[in-house]
Amino acid sequence: MIQLSPIDPVKAYLGQRIVSQEQLAIMGDYWGTNLSLGERVVGWLQTLASGSMGFSLIYRVPVTEVIMQKFTASLTLMVVSWVISAIVGFGLGIIAGAKEGSWIDKAIKTYCYILQSTPTFWIGLVLLMVFSVYLGWFPIGLSVPMGQLADTVTFWQWLYRLILPAITLSIVGIASLTMYTRDKLINVKKSDYFLFAQARGESFWGIIKNHGIRNVLLPAITIQFLSFNELFGGTILVEQVFAYPGIGQATVAAGLRSDVPLLLGIVIISTIFVFVGNLLADVIYKYVDPRIRSEDDE
C-alpha cells in the first residue's frame, strides 16, 4: 500500500533541502528505492529477523528505539485509562443491570449511548475546552510542562498531565463495557439459579454479589482484554488532541511524513499488542472458569 502511495522515502529524508539529480540517484541507490517491491519486502523481513526494524527517517534513530520510547509513554496512558474504564464500566453496568428499568438505569443507558456515538477526539476537545480553557484546572497539552526538561518532571506533575487524556481515552471503553455488563446481568437475573436464590430467601444485593458478579465478571474481563485494539485506535486520536508525545503521535507523524520503516514498525508492535490482549483473555478464561479448567484436566 505504501508502495502505491505517492511517498518517496528519499524526498522524505531530504525534507526541504535542495539537491542535484546525481545526488538524488546516489541516495536512491543507498536507500534501495530502485529495487523491486519483492526485493524490498524480503530485505525488510531479513533485517527484521536479525532484530532490527531499520532507521526512522524523521527521528534519525533506530525504529526500535523510537517505538520503545514512545510506547512506554503511551503505555502508561493506555493502562491508566484501561483500568479506569474497567472499574467504572463494570460498576455502572452492574448498577444499571441490577436496577433495570429504574431512572438510574435509564440515566446510565442514555449516558452510554451518547458516549458510544460520540467520536473520541470530539470528547477530548470538549473536555479540553471545559476543564483546561474555561475552568483552567488542567494543562492544555503535552506530557511535560513547557520550558522544562523531561528528566526534571516530578511524578505529580506527570500524573496531573495524564488525567485528562486518560479520562478521554477511558470514556469510550466505559460505554461498551457498561452496556455489555448490564446486558449480561439482566440475563443472569432471568436465569433459574437467580430465581432459586430468591426462593431461598437470599437478599437482592446478596444475590447480585454472590451470583450476579460471579457470572458476569468473566465475560466482562474478556471483553475488556479484547478492547485492546479500540484502545490503541483511541490513543492515536487522543494523543493528537492533547499533544501527548506517545505512539499515537508517532504513528500520525510517520504516516504524514512518509517514514516507512517507522510506520511498519508501529504496525508490527500494535499487532503484537492486540494479539497479547486476546491471548491474555483466553488464558484468564482458562484459569478462572472451572468449566474450561476441568476439561483440560481430563
Binding site: 433459574d192 430465581l195 430468591q198 426462593a199 431461598r200 444475590i207 454472590n210 451470583h211 457470572n215
Partner: protein, 315 residues
C-alpha cells in the same frame, strides 16, 4: 395435626400484548384451592406446561412483575403477604427446584447449599449442617468442591434436595422433582420425599407423572386447564368407581395397567365460559356449558362437577 399451607381461590393471570397494543389477560391458574397438613404429601398432577410451577412461585413470592394474583395463601393460619413470604422463604418454606439449572454454574455446590451468610460464624455453623445433610444422602466430602456441571443426574437431585433441608423447613415444595431421571433415581427420589413426611414435614409435590404422584402422595389434586377439578385420597385412585370427576376416571383408565383406554380431546387453552371439561365430557349437562361448577366437598373428596352432590345448583 396442623394445617401448614392453605391456598384459597388462587388465580394467577398474565398481561400480554397481542398485535401491537391490545392487552390480553392470560389466565394460567383459576380458582385454585388446596391445603397441605403436617406429615402429609399432597401432589398436584397436571400436564406439562399447564402452569403448575406458578403455584410454587406464588407461594414463595417470586412471580414475574406482569402477573396478577388474587385469592389468598395462608401458612399456619397466617395470610402470606409478600413481606411474610420473603421472611419465611428459605427458612420455613423451601423449594426443591426442577433441575441443576437452578444452581449457579460457577459456584461450588457446598457453598450453594450453605447459601448467603451474615458472618464467618454463621457460615461455619451452616457448613456443619450442610455436611450432615450431604452425608445423609450419601454425598461424601469430594462432592463439596464440585461444580454443578460435574454432578450426575442423581447426585444433582440429592444436592437440590439438600439445599432445601439445610434450613430445616416445615413445608417443602417439590417442583417436578423427577423428569429426566432413570428409574432407579426416580425410586430414590420418591423414597427421599416420603422420608421427609416421616420427619413431620409437609410436602407439596408438583408433577406431571401419574406414577410418581400415586407412589408418593397421600392426596392428589388433579389440575385441568388451570382448575383443580378433584382432590382425592391416593387409595381411591386404584378404583375408578371411587373417583368422582369424569376426567380423573379417563386419566386413570388411560394408564397401561388399566387397559390403555384412550380418549379424544385436548385441554382448552382459552378461557371457557363454563366447565373446562365441557367439550370432552361424556356426562355433561346443559348447564355445564355456561356455568363453572364450584369446588365442593363430597364425602371427604373435593370435587368440581355438576353431576356430584346437590350443592352445585344454579349460581
Amino acid at each position: 395435626m396442623e394445617k401448614l399451607l392453605e391456598v384459597n381461590n388462587l388465580s394467577i393471570s398474565f398481561t400480554q400484548y397481542v398485535q401491537g397494543l391490545n392487552r390480553h389477560d392470560l389466565k394460567v391458574i383459576s380458582d385454585l384451592t388446596i391445603d397441605v397438613m403436617e406429615n402429609e404429601i399432597v401432589a398436584i398432577l397436571g400436564s406439562s406446561g399447564s402452569g403448575k410451577s406458578l403455584l410454587a412461585h406464588s407461594i414463595l413470592g417470586i412471580l414475574p412483575y406482569n402477573s396478577h394474583v388474587s385469592g389468598e395463601i395462608k401458612y399456619k393460619g397466617n395470610i402470606l403477604t409478600q413481606e411474610l413470604k420473603e421472611k419465611l422463604r428459605g427458612k420455613e418454606i423451601c423449594l426443591i427446584p426442577q433441575s441443576v439449572n437452578f444452581l449457579d454454574p460457577l459456584m461450588k455446590v457446598s457453598e450453594q447449599a450453605i447459601g448467603e451468610c451474615k458472618d464467618e460464624n454463621e457460615h461455619n455453623e451452616k457448613k456443619l449442617r450442610q455436611r450432615e445433610v450431604f452425608d445423609k444422602y450419601g454425598l461424601d466430602e469430594s462432592v463439596d468442591d464440585l461444580y454443578p456441571f460435574e454432578l450426575s443426574g442423581g447426585m444433582a437431585r440429592k444436592v437440590l434436595l439438600s439445599t432445601a433441608l439445610i434450613g430445616n423447613p416445615n413445608l417443602l415444595i417439590a417442583d417436578e422433582p423427577t423428569p429426566g431421571l432413570d428409574r432407579k433415581s426416580v425410586e430414590e427420589t420418591i423414597e427421599d420425599i416420603k422420608n421427609l413426611k416421616e420427619n413431620g414435614k409437609g410436602v407439596l409435590l408438583i408433577t406431571h407423572e401419574i406414577d410418581v404422584a400415586l407412589k408418593t402422595a397421600d392426596r392428589i389434586a388433579i389440575f385441568y386447564s388451570g382448575y383443580v377439578i378433584e382432590i382425592n385420597k391416593v387409595e381411591n385412585f386404584s378404583d375408578t368407581d371411587k373417583l368422582l370427576h369424569p376426567y380423573t376416571k379417563v386419566l386413570i383408565n388411560a394408564l397401561p395397567r388399566n387397559g390403555f383406554n384412550f380418549s379424544e380431546g385436548v385441554q382448552p387453552l382459552d378461557d371457557v365460559s363454563g366447565c373446562p371439561y365441557y367439550e370432552n365430557c361424556p356426562v355433561r349437562l346443559d348447564k355445564c356449558e355456561n356455568n363453572i361448577p364450584q369446588l365442593i366437598e363430597h364425602n371427604g373428596v373435593m370435587i368440581r362437577c355438576f353431576n356430584i352432590g346437590g350443592v352445585n345448583d344454579e349460581p
